[in-house]
Amino acid sequence: MNVTSLLLVLVSIALLGYFGGYRKARALSSSAKTHSRPQYHGYLVALWALLPALAVLMAWTMSQEAIITRLVMSELPATAQHQSAAERSLFINQFKNLAQAKKSAVDESGVSLPNEEDDPLTNQAANRYLHWQERSQVARTLAVITLAALAIWLTLRRLRASFQARNRVEKIIQFIMMLSASIAILTTVGIVFSVLFEALQFFRHVPITEFLFGTHWNPQTAIRADQVGGSGSFGAIPLFTGTLLISLIALSVAVPLGLFSAIYLAEYASPRVRAIAKPVMEMLAGIPTVVYGFFAALTVAPLIRQTAESLGLSASSESTLAAGLVMGIMIIPFVSSLSDDVISAVPQILRDGSYAMGATKSETIKQVIIPAALPGIVGGVLLAASRAIGETMIVVMAAGLAANLTANPLDSVTTVTTQIVTLLTGDQEFDSPKTLAAFALGLGLFVVTLGLNIISLYVVRKYREQYE
C-alpha cells in the first residue's frame, strides 16, 4: 500500500477509534458521572491511534531506502563489493534506474521487460531491490495498522468514569504545538549550519582575514589547471560597502516618506481617504521586485544620468542612486504600514490628555504620540533595513556587477546578494572557491541581519520599559 492510501486507512481507523471511545464513555456516564465529556474520550483514542502510527510511518518511509540499498549490496557476490566509492554509487544509481524502469513497465503492460542489454549483475541487483521494496511496503502497512489497532485497544481498556481524558488530550495538543514550533526553529538552525559548513570550506581556500578585510573583489578563478586566469581575489569589503550604500540611500528615502505618510494616514486623513490610501500604499510591497528592477534600470537610471550630466557630473549608467531610490520606494510600506499601526494603537486617552493641556494636534503628535509609538516605528525601520540589505532583484538589474569601493552614489557598485547570484549561476564545480564564496557571503549577510534584529529587539525592549 502506498503512503497516501495508508494515510487514508489510518484516518478511518482513528475515526473508528473516536466513535469507540465516545460510545464507551457514554456507556460509562450512564452509571457514574465521568470526569471528562465523551468527546474527549473519543479524541484521546483517535489521537493515540493516529500519532504513534504516523511516527512509525514517517520513520519507516524515510529510512527504508537506505536500508534496502544496503541489503541489496550485501546480497551481491563478492566481486561487486570491492569497488571504489564512486563506482559503488554509480552502480547503485544504475540498478535503481533499472528497477524503476521495470516497475513502470509492469505497471503499464503487465509484463516484465526483457532485459538482454543489461549487465546480469545490475539486473540481479534491480530484481532484489524490487523484491525488498515490495516486502518493506507490506511490512510497513502491517506494522502501521497493527500499531493503530493496538493503541485503540489499549486506550479503550483504560477508559473509566474517573479517567481524565480532557487533561490528556490537552497535553497531547500542547505537545503537537511545541513540535510545530520546534520544527520552525530547527529549520533555521539547519540552514545556518549548512551555510556555516560551506563557508568554513571556503575559508580553507581563502584566508578569513582576506575575505573580511580585503578591498579587492574579483572571483574569477581558473577552472582547469592549464587555463590562464586570475587567481581570484575575495575581499568582501567592496560588496558590503556597496550594500550599505544602497541600503542607506533606500532608507533615507523610505524612512521620512514612510513616517510622514503614516502620521498623515493615522492622524489627519479622513476615514475615507485612509480606507483607500492605506491598501494602495501597501500594494507597493506587493509589486514583484523584478518590476521595480525594470523601473530602476530603464527609467530611473537614465533619468539620473541625464540630470547628472546636465549638472556637469559624470554618472555611471548603472548607478547606485537609481537602485537605492527605487528600493527606497519599495520599502516605504514596511515603514508606513507598521508605523501607522502603532500610531493608531496609541491610546486615545493619551491624546485627550495632551489636548486637555492645551496642546495642538501637531504638538500632541510630536511630543506624545511619536515617543509612545517609537518602539514600533523603530521596529518597522529595522524591518525595512533588513529587507533592503537582503533585496536582490533590483540591485542585480540596476546597480551593476562592478565591485567598486566608492561612496559616490553616481558610481556603480555591487551588493552581496548580487554577487551571490552571479557566483552560483553558471557551471562551476561546486567545491571551487568561487562557488563556496557565495556561502561565505551568505553567512556574512546573515550575521548582519541577525545583528540588526538583535539591535531592534534591544531598542524595542528598552523603550517599552519606559513607555508602557
Binding site: 490628555g353 489636548y355 486637555a356 493641556m357
Partner: protein
Amino acid sequence: MTLDKTALVVDNNNNSTEVNLTGSASDTADMLDMTIGETVGKALLEDAKLNVRHANVFYGDKQAIHDISLDIGKNEVLAMIGPSGCGKSTFLRCLNRMNDTIPICRVEGSFLLDGEDIYDRRQDPVLLRSRVGMVFQKPNPFPKSIYDNVAYGVRLHGLAKNRAELDEIVEKSLRRAGLFNEVKDDLHKPGTGLSGGQQQRLCIARTIAIDPEVILMDEPTSALDPIATALIEELITELSEKYTIAIVTHSMQQAARVSNRTAYFHMGKLVEVNDTDSVFTTPQHPLTENYITGRFG
C-alpha cells in the same frame, strides 16, 4: 403600580413637587419612563464662572444632552452624579471642547466662560483648554519623566522664562498635588512607573502647572483604591480655594464629601441641582431621591 404622570411635571420654582411613589426597587423600568420635566433646584447663579444655556449635544442622530441650563460658580466644586449613560461626562467634555475631537459630535446652545463664548468661531480651543484643564477617569501620564509630565504644558505655553523658573513651577505643582515628597528623588524616572493614585496626582499636578481657571474631573478616582481616593478628595477640597472645579463621579459619598453643589443627571437631562446638603438630605425630585437612596442607577 400605576403612576400618575401628571403628578411628575415639576415647576421650576421647586418645593411644590408632590409625587406619590409607592413603587418598590423592582420597578426601575417604570422609573425610567417617568417624565423628567424641567430642572428643579438652583441651576442658575449670579456672577458665575461658567454659564451654560439650552445645551443640546448630539452624537450623529442620537441626542445625548437635552436642553441643559446650568451655572458653575467661582471657586465652587460642582459634583455631577447620575446613572451610566446619563450624559454627565458628555456635558463635562463640552466645557473645554474636548468633544471637538469626536467627529460625529455636535454641540448646540450657549457656553460662556467669564461671559466669553466658548464655542465662538474666534475662540481657539487650544487656548480655551489651557484655561479649562481636565483630569481623566484613567490616569494618563505621558510616556515621559515625571518632571517632563508636569513641565509639558508649561513648555507648550511658554510659561517659564528659564530653567530655574520651570523647576520652580514643577516643584510647586507637585507640592500642591501632594506628590512632591514621594517623587522628589525620582523626578527623571518615567511617570508611568508610579502607582495608580500617584499617576492621578501627577495628572492633577500637570493640569495645575499651567494655572487654569477651571478644572474638570471625569471620575478621577474610579480607578483608584480607597486610600488614593481619600488623598485625591482632600486635594480637591484644597484646590477649590483657587480653582473652579466640576467633577463627575459615580460615588455619591464622594459627591457629598467634596462638593458644594450637586447636579443629578438622568437620560441626558439635568433633573435636579442644588446645594449638596439639600440634594442628599431633602431631594426634591423623585428620580433624585430614588437614585441617592440606591433604589436604582
